[in-house]
């Protein structure tokens, strides 16, 4: 599954995207917990970025949303365009 990071989160993690393999369906919250456990950089990045938002295939979803390996997950702070 492709994960995209944007704005401050991307800056703190140090990359804009990566691919992880999800064998069975998972909640977004689980995926994020696993990412946080990887290392201090991820842990810090997720803790430092407030009120993150989640989108799967361009639709906003919440942490309980269940994703599969073919999805595109995007994680980012609240938008500030316009």
């Amino acid at each position: 599954m492709k994960i995209l990071y944007f704005a401050k989160l991307k800056q703190l993690i140090g990359k804009s995207e990566e691919t992880i393999c999800i064998k069975q369906k998972k909640k977004i919250s689980q995926v994020i917990n696993e990412l946080k456990k990887r290392n201090d950089i991820y842990d810090f990045a997720f803790k430092e970025t407030n009120s993150l938002q989640y989108a799967v295939n361009c639709e906003y979803v919440d942490l309980n949303f269940v994703i599969t390996d073919s999805d595109e997950l995007a994680i980012f702070p609240p938008v500030s365009g316009g």
Partner: protein, 149 residues
């Protein structure tokens, strides 16, 4: 019926005149331009960087527009939004709407801006002399959106 994301700077008339000519039979043309303000609380803004998740921004704006078009009868719309580095006083966003009667354009254009502010995947970073800061979403912007859509 166009949504454009572009790096290049633009002036209003690049779009508004042509849009109005293309909508010869509309009685009302609404437009809104959002520009980079040169200061943020007395800190001089040197430039801003706008990050874009293009696919999702397009999808979300289109979704808002489809909802608004069910509620308000308009003839045409145009959305232009810049990304990349933008200088103070340059235009960031332009929305133009054509309709038969003015209220439809007003409600459509305002609603589109309100939703765009909280749903369209753009992020601004302000660059100052002593560093950069990501711009937070304004609390007030959340209050404006019409959840009945």
């Amino acid at each position: 019926m166009k949504i454009l994301f572009q790096r290049k700077k633009f002036i209003e008339s690049d779009f508004i005149n042509k849009f109005s000519l293309n909508n010869k039979n509309s009685g009302a043309i609404f437009s809104f331009i959002g520009k980079v303000r040169p200061k943020n609380q007395n800190n001089k803004v040197l430039s801003i960087d706008i990050e874009l998740y293009e696919k999702m921004a397009h999808f979300q704006i289109k979704k808002i527009i489809n909802k608004l078009m069910k509620k308000y009868f308009i003839d045409d719309y145009l959305v232009v939004h810049r990304y990349g580095r933008v200088k103070p006083r340059e235009n960031i966003v332009l929305i133009v709407v054509a309709s038969q009667h003015r209220k439809e354009s007003f409600r459509f254009g305002e609603g589109l801006m309100d939703w765009l502010k909280v749903k369209a995947t753009f992020w601004k970073k302000e660059n100052f002399a002593n560093g950069s800061e990501w711009v937070d979403q304004k609390e007030t912007d959340k209050k404006f959106i019409d959840f009945s859509l």
